[in-house]
């Protein structure tokens, strides 16, 4: 994602830095791009429809397709390793929760009841989602199972604020 020519727009560039290409053209905010696991699409947040929502676009370009429709604030798309579901952050009544959408049925489940969740990230096995949240004014890491049943705090011992977790690739 680049801020170029004013405003946030999404560009594709080769890993060697060559082939810079604008992917989506709009006068709105386009940000938080994430590849689908098969590499064929990019999911991103945009307010092109009037409020922050999640869209999908093919890496070859074309029309962006809107993915989220419930509520007035849906951002931070993260695809599951099998590409079948998407975790994201949704705002409900002023509170920010981790939500999960089945991409085939479009069914949405809200997984957390904490108020200031951010940056969801799938575990490589696809069964847990780690995210940043706030407890007593401090940034902490937490995790929730994809069915919402198991919740745990991961970083209560840390004194500093914790932000933007991303699951490391598993290297043998």
């Amino acid at each position: 994602m680049l801020t170029k020519d004013g405003g946030s727009q999404i560009f594709l560039v080769g890993a060697d830095g060559s082939g810079l290409r604008r992917l989506a053209t709009s006068a709105s905010i386009d940000t938080e791009p994430r590849f689908s696991p098969d590499g064929g699409s990019i999911y991103f947040s945009s307010d092109r429809g009037g409020s922050p929502q999640i869209y999908r676009i093919s890496v070859t370009g074309g029309q962006a397709e809107r993915i989220t429709f419930e509520g007035s604030y849906n951002v931070s798309p993260r695809l599951s390793p099998d590409g079948k579901s998407m975790a994201y952050i949704t705002r409900v009544g002023g509170l920010f929760h981790v939500a999960l959408m089945d991409l085939a049925s479009k069914q949405v489940t809200i997984l957390t009841d904490s108020a200031k969740d951010e940056s969801p990230s799938f575990a490589p096995n696809g069964r847990m989602i780690v995210y940043a949240t706030e407890v007593n004014g401090k940034g902490v890491l937490a995790a929730v199972s994809v069915d919402g049943r198991v919740k745990q705090r991961l970083s209560s011992a840390l004194a500093a604020d914790v932000r933007e977790p991303a699951w490391a690739p598993f290297n043998r």
Partner: protein
């Protein structure tokens, strides 16, 4: 004979001039005013040094609360980067100042409140800074005098968890050379 009288007359005249007692020195205290003595004068007579006229659109006025140029904040609604009408007169003053002072530069810093996605807030704050810059340019400021940057949610002016604080953080802030 007549010449002698002339010389004498001149000499007498000169002597008379020379012997005149010097005029008493006038001090300000002895200056008589035209105020009638039975009227009570409530204001003391002072030497008034004329003050320079205050120029609200000068470089000196940039931080003077009497000048609209001292107003540096544009506040935004939630999720929005629309510049509201209530800020148009402040922006008009700044654009007029920039147009008249080609050497002045402005940095516009966009900010958001701390709720929601950090990355999204970075983009939102950029849009806010861009909107302020665009408004100023439309009213006469030169594009190359201004730079719009985003601070996202990283530089709040307050950290309370309430709308009063959040609304203060949803802002575009205008800074001139030497202030950043």
């Amino acid at each position: 004979m007549r010449n002698i009288y002339l010389i004498s007359a001149i000499t007498v005249l000169l002597a008379a001039c020379g012997s005149q007692p010097p005029a008493p020195e006038q001090t300000p205290a002895e200056v008589k005013t035209s105020t009638p003595t039975d009227v009570v004068v409530t204001k003391p007579v002072v030497n008034v040094v004329p003050q320079p006229t205050f120029d609200a659109m000068s470089v000196a006025a940039l931080k003077d609360p009497r000048s609209p140029l001292s107003k540096r904040m544009v506040y935004f609604d939630l999720d929005s980067y629309v510049v509201k009408d209530e800020f148009q007169s402040t922006l008009a003053a700044h654009s007029k100042f920039l147009a008249a002072n080609a050497k002045m530069k402005m940095l516009i810093q966009g900010n958001s409140d701390e709720r929601g996605s950090r990355e999204y807030n970075l983009a939102l704050a950029q849009k806010r800074a861009d909107a302020v810059k665009k408004s100023l340019a439309l009213m006469g400021a030169k594009e190359d005098q201004m730079e719009a940057v985003s601070l996202g949610e990283e530089k709040p002016v307050c950290t309370d968890q309430n709308e009063e604080c959040w609304s203060k953080n949803r802002r575009g802030e205008m800074l001139y050379n030497g202030e950043y």
